[in-house]
């Protein structure tokens, strides 16, 4: 029998708080509230607390001197945690160009799934996606909310080069490549918006808990937004999200 959350060390510089593995907005909300609480309580330890789907990791800048005691302290904190303060979320409108020049695998998905390209675009841009966390690569958003009809396996042979901004589908996930890199997702479009800016602190404007909505743009609009980004005058379309 396992009891959740499980609180245990990850080496000498980390403490994990694992909840029962699941992808749900309720759990995300709980994690985000607990994250803020712990970050505040452990301010003087200068820790960074990150979340994934069902875990928090408290990352210490140096090796923890007494791991056993620190785990006990975190357990006590988690038990008494006051996590009722609601977190504020933004909804971001994200432009995606689904035209052929970018949508390298749209035809393939359309043929195999016997769904028209227009319907795939509609299904992809209809949901309000939830940002669970940023991981894997700088600025890579883990999104929940892909329509089941669009789930599609990753490429067996990953591409050596996927362009920055490429919008892809991999199994039950969809996402945007924040920089040009190798990758195995099926590419259906491209978004010119900057997801990661190394010259800004914080480097990401979008945070875990925020919502995304895709909307289709043509090549001309893609080029126009790209120019705004290049000129440093781009602004996200976002507003407070009232769920």
């Amino acid at each position: 029998m396992r009891y959740f959350p499980e609180i245990k060390p990850l080496g000498e510089r980390g403490i994990l708080i694992d909840f029962q593995p699941e992808i749900s907005e309720q759990l995300l909300e709980k994690l985000l509230r607990l994250k803020i609480f712990l970050q505040k309580e452990l301010l003087k330890e200068k820790v960074e607390v990150i979340n994934t789907f069902s875990s928090l990791l408290i990352n210490y800048p140096l090796a923890i001197e007494d791991v056993y005691n620190e785990v006990l302290k975190v357990k006590t904190l988690v038990e008494k945690a006051n996590i009722h303060n609601k977190t504020e979320q933004q909804i971001f409108q994200i432009p995606v160009c689904y035209e052929e020049a970018f949508a390298l695998d749209l035809e393939l998905i359309s043929q195999q799934k016997k769904i028209s390209k227009e319907e795939i675009i509609r299904l992809h841009s209809a949901p309000i996606y939830t940002v669970y966390f940023i991981g894997f690569l700088p600025g890579f958003l883990y999104l929940g909310g892909l329509d089941k009809k669009l789930q599609f396996p990753r490429k067996e042979q990953p591409r050596m080069r996927v362009e920055k901004g490429a919008v892809g589908i991999g199994k039950n996930q969809t996402g945007i490549y924040p920089k040009t890199s190798p990758g195995g997702w099926q590419i259906i479009g491209n978004s010119p918006v900057p997801l990661f800016d190394k010259n800004k602190i914080p480097p990401c404007e979008i945070s875990p808990g925020d919502k995304l909505k895709f909307y289709a743009i043509d090549l001309e609009e893609h080029e126009r937004i790209q120019k705004e980004v290049d000129d440093g005058i781009f602004k996200f379309k976002n507003e407070l999200y009232v769920g």
């Binding site: 994990l16 789907f53 875990s55 791991v67 991981g135 700088p138």
Partner: protein, 289 residues
């Protein structure tokens, strides 16, 4: 006064590293920093630098560089036959440098990564609060020929004791790589756990600052996990039986079971191994919660 180290030859893979880009993991940014944090600290301490000042991380085949102004340096970690103006110099000592002096490295004797500290630390640009090179964050991710690395020629020189010396780090000759059980360690059946403790493993050629892949195949039936946090030193086991030790530039999250977690010392030990070398994991026996 501005002083520079000019790169005459970059070596196999040389970069500038400090204590790491800490606090940006939540944006998916790896921590980076010196692979062997112990040796880089020691190099800095020899020069009375802050222990996380920027140092040059030299991998197996060292660079050839020229100093524009007088300073003091110290080299720690791997023994790569360093020479100043053609004369051998020793690791773990303070070395006085005159304007125009040329430092180069020769044959590898021991270890994989040497650390060159300069008085006051290298002053390459900080990006996201750190000078550690990382592709896509800093403008370059490795030294290139002709590059000039600034340092501060005026930095607290009188504080350096030219006779200061330390012993070679014992982790350079450690037999076992120190580990703790990872979050999914208990999913291994007992024979697998035993095998993990008792087998020899080999560092494959697919080993870089992001991670070290091991050559041996470790058959297993562990299921993938929901994408979860990982840290430098996390050992992942893939369904095809590959063991991957994530290193300082490793990704921040992963979906493979995390069967072991190297201690800080374990990371420093394995950072000094070269591809082809064999080692064993040594589980640090501590009862934790």
């Amino acid at each position: 006064m501005s002083a520079e180290v000019e790169v005459l030859h970059p070596g196999l893979f040389t970069s500038i590293q400090d204590g790491g880009r800490y606090g940006f993991m939540k944006y998916g940014v790896p921590v980076s920093g010196a692979m062997d944090s112990f040796s880089s600290k020691m190099a800095n301490l020899l020069l009375n630098n802050p222990e996380d000042a920027s140092v040059m991380e030299v991998t197996q085949m060292g660079p050839k560089v020229r100093f524009s102004a007088a300073t003091a340096i110290a080299i720690t970690g791997a023994v790569l036959s360093p020479e100043v103006n053609g004369k051998p110099v020793e690791n773990n000592h303070v070395i006085d440098i005159n304007p125009g002096d040329v430092l180069q490295f020769g044959r590898r004797i021991l270890g994989c990564r040497a650390y060159l500290a300069v008085r006051g630390g290298f002053q390459t640009p900080k990006v996201l609060k750190s000078r550690s090179f990382y592709e896509g964050i800093t403008s370059v991710y490795r030294l290139v020929k002709g590059m000039k690395l600034p340092y501060d020629a005026e930095a607290s020189g009188e504080l350096v004791n030219s006779y200061a010396a330390i012993k070679q780090g014992e982790h350079l000759s450690a037999v076992k790589v120190e580990v703790l059980p990872g979050p999914e360690f208990d999913r291994l059946i007992s024979s697998e756990a035993e095998k993990l403790k008792n087998s020899e493993f080999t560092l494959s050629k697919y080993s870089d600052r992001m991670g070290f892949q091991l050559s041996e195949v470790f058959p297993n039936n562990l299921e993938a996990i929901l994408t979860s946090p990982v840290l430098p030193g996390t050992v992942q086991l893939t369904p095809s039986g590959k063991l991957i030790v994530l290193m300082r530039d490793g990704q921040t999250t992963g979906g493979y079971p995390r069967i072991l977690q190297l201690t800080e010392r374990g990371i420093n030990i394995i950072a000094q191994r070269i591809p082809g070398e064999k080692f064993q994991f040594g589980i640090k026996n501590e009862v934790l919660s």
